[in-house]
């Protein structure tokens, strides 16, 4: 098992894909903070100078100014759980789906699964090493993502003359751990689809579609009929939302009425663990029972 893991890591660090995904994350972190600062600051300047275009439906300027000032405060390092962690979590779901499906699916596409298995690797051990490297990558992603958003937050706060004190690394680490936990079912799902259909592209496409659709459907269910909340709360997205919620610091833009109907965190942990176990178990079963042929 350790030999497999070592070989897996050796091959993985020599692929471009993980580095590109991490690079995009770092770039987006700085871009988001700069964009939020530049756009909100420009709006603020316009409102203060009275040069903002008149909109009869908009709230009074002083209300808008207070709202924008509040948004600017989320750029502060002390508010990283509201903006930075949200970026890492939101982008991360896409990144881990893409990466997981690719990590499993390319073995079929390249035909290397046969080569590796013929070299003596056990199927269960191979899949276990794949899952472990997936979790390892997700951990690296979260650490890099949070480091980048922290750096971007300090940089932009300095530019904006915001208070840079109050950064609590413990709170950020806790939020990072919750984010990582929320990735697990999505990673297991994308890997399962790629393995089942022997296709990296199929795993990526199906993983993303399921992710967006499930999130949308549960949202609609909850909005249109509160009775469906209990059903929706057995899905993935609402439990991920519940687990990601940090006390007293809901993500920027979160709807309080939606947050109030989210499952409690114990239920969220249990449901997410069950989904992950189900997807992983199906993956093991599929690989163990399948003939590895050329077709």
């Amino acid at each position: 098992m350790l030999r497999l893991l070592r070989s897996e890591v050796y091959r993985l660090v020599r692929r471009w894909m993980p580095w590109v995904l991490l690079g995009i994350t770092v770039l987006l972190a700085f871009l988001l903070y700069e964009l939020v600062w530049l756009t909100t600051n420009a709006q603020l300047e316009a409102l203060r100078s009275g040069s903002a275009p008149a909109n009869p439906n908009a709230p009074p300027p002083e209300v808008q100014i207070r709202s924008i000032e509040g948004a600017i405060q989320t750029l502060r390092p002390a508010q990283l759980t509201r903006l930075g962690v949200g970026l890492v979590a939101g982008l991360g779901t896409i990144v881990v789906i893409v990466f997981s499906a690719s990590h499993l699916g390319t073995e079929w596409v390249w035909g290397t699964l046969r080569t590796v298995l013929a070299a003596g690797a056990g199927r269960a051990q191979l899949l276990a090493s794949k899952y472990l490297t997936l979790v390892g990558f997700a951990l690296v992603y979260v650490v890099v993502g949070l480091a980048a958003t922290t750096a971007a937050s300090f940089l932009v706060s300095s530019q904006a003359g915001l208070d840079t004190s109050g950064y609590d690394i413990g709170v950020v680490a806790s939020a990072g751990a919750r984010t990582l936990f929320g990735f697990l079912p999505y990673m297991a799902l994308a890997a399962l689809i790629a393995l089942w259909f022997r296709s990296a592209g199929g795993g990526i496409a199906a993983g993303l579609v399921i992710n967006f659709t499930e999130s949308l459907v549960t949202q609609l269910l909850v909005q249109f009929n509160k009775d469906f909340v209990s059903v929706a709360n057995f899905g993935i997205s609402r439990n991920v939302q519940a687990i990601s919620r940090v006390a007293d610091a809901p993500p920027a833009g979160a709807n309080p009425s939606v947050l109030a109907t989210l499952p409690d965190q114990t239920q969220a942990v249990v449901v997410l663990v069950l989904w992950t176990i189900l997807f992983v178990a199906l993956g093991f079963w599929r690989l163990r029972t399948r003939d590895i042929t050329l077709s």
Binding site: R3, R114, A118, A119, T293, L294
Partner: protein, 311 residues
């Protein structure tokens, strides 16, 4: 050089895909120090058989074992003594040849890592070991595939179409390497479409069709039953009638020069006696030993595999 120790054995190996029986009760043995050719037309079941030996394809029935270890029950120990080059050599395209071998050597453990550079040199890839696999020609891919089989210094080597994509010089090198592997005391199972290659390299051959063994033995044993004779005779039509009635004659064809008779070996004097008895005098009876290719085509073109000289 061949020893009596069986290093690879399949017993009653069966694989069914739905209603299709791809491999049907296949019994095969490879001894230490010998090269066994596995022959058969496309779809005969060669790759499925190899897949079952490697544990890639699950047998419906029967067993395969390496050094006495069942490949299903004791997969790790069995495959530790086995190196296999598959028909389509697949490696990681983003890695160099050396990195691909290193990654596989890490899986293998033991002293495999220390063999990487030596194997690259042995297979003529020493100066291209640092190039990405995706830039390799087909021949280089085949060489890398063969190198990968030797990482664990295995007792059994399976080579599935190793000559694919190689130029004549490359094919000759592979033939020499195959013999070298056997002389080092390994058992080699060679699946190939290049019958000339098989004829030159293999100690024994096993011919399969529709998943069943239709012939097996040494090259001499296999080709002995497939001799042909060129007979130059007056009244060839009458001569053909007489020859068709003789034992051991399988086919008589008219040619520009007379007759071509496909029959068992050493039948020339029998033909001569029969023709003389009918007052027909042959001016020439020229025996021609069939090549493996002749026999292979004859065996696999027959509609009923059961009628073939299986052994």
């Amino acid at each position: 050089m061949t020893s009596s120790e069986v290093v690879l054995r399949t017993s009653g190996l069966v694989k069914r895909f739905g209603t299709l029986t791809a491999v049907d009760r296949l019994d095969l043995e490879v001894h230490r120090g010998e090269v066994v050719g596995l022959l058969g037309p496309n779809g005969a079941g060669k790759s499925t058989t190899i897949g079952m030996i490697l544990g890639l394809v699950r047998p419906t029935a029967g067993t395969a074992s390496v050094l006495g270890k069942d490949v299903v029950a004791h997969r790790e120990e069995a495959l530790a003594a086995l190196g296999a080059m598959l028909e389509v050599t697949s490696f990681y395209p983003h890695l160099t040849g050396r990195q691909n071998l290193t990654a596989l050597a890490m899986l293998r453990g033991g002293g495999a890592l220390s063999r990487v550079d030596g194997l690259l040199k042995r297979l003529g890839l020493g100066d291209r070991g640092g190039s990405k696999f995706r830039t390799y020609s087909l021949g280089m891919r085949q060489r890398l595939g063969i190198a990968s089989t030797l990482l664990s210094d295995p007792a059994v080597v399976i080579l599935d179409e190793p000559g694919n994509g190689l130029d004549p010089a490359g094919q000759r090198e592979i033939r020499e390497l195959t013999r070298e592997l056997a002389s080092e005391g390994r058992g080699v199972l060679l699946a190939s479409h290049l019958l000339h290659e098989v004829e030159l390299v293999c100690d024994r051959v096993v011919v399969i069709q529709k998943g069943r063994i239709i012939a097996a033995g040494t090259i001499a044993e296999i080709t002995r039953g497939g001799s042909s004779y060129q007979i130059v005779v007056s009244e060839p039509d009458r001569a053909a009638e007489i020859l068709r009635g003789l034992d051991g004659v399988r086919e008589v064809r008219r040619t520009d020069r007379g007759l071509e008779v496909v029959a068992d070996a050493d039948r020339g004097d029998q033909f001569n006696r029969a023709l003389v008895a009918a007052s027909l005098y042959a001016s020439a009876i020229i025996p021609r030993q069939s090549s493996l290719e002749d026999v292979f085509l004859e065996l696999t073109e027959e509609e009923s595999p059961g009628a073939a000289p299986a052994s």
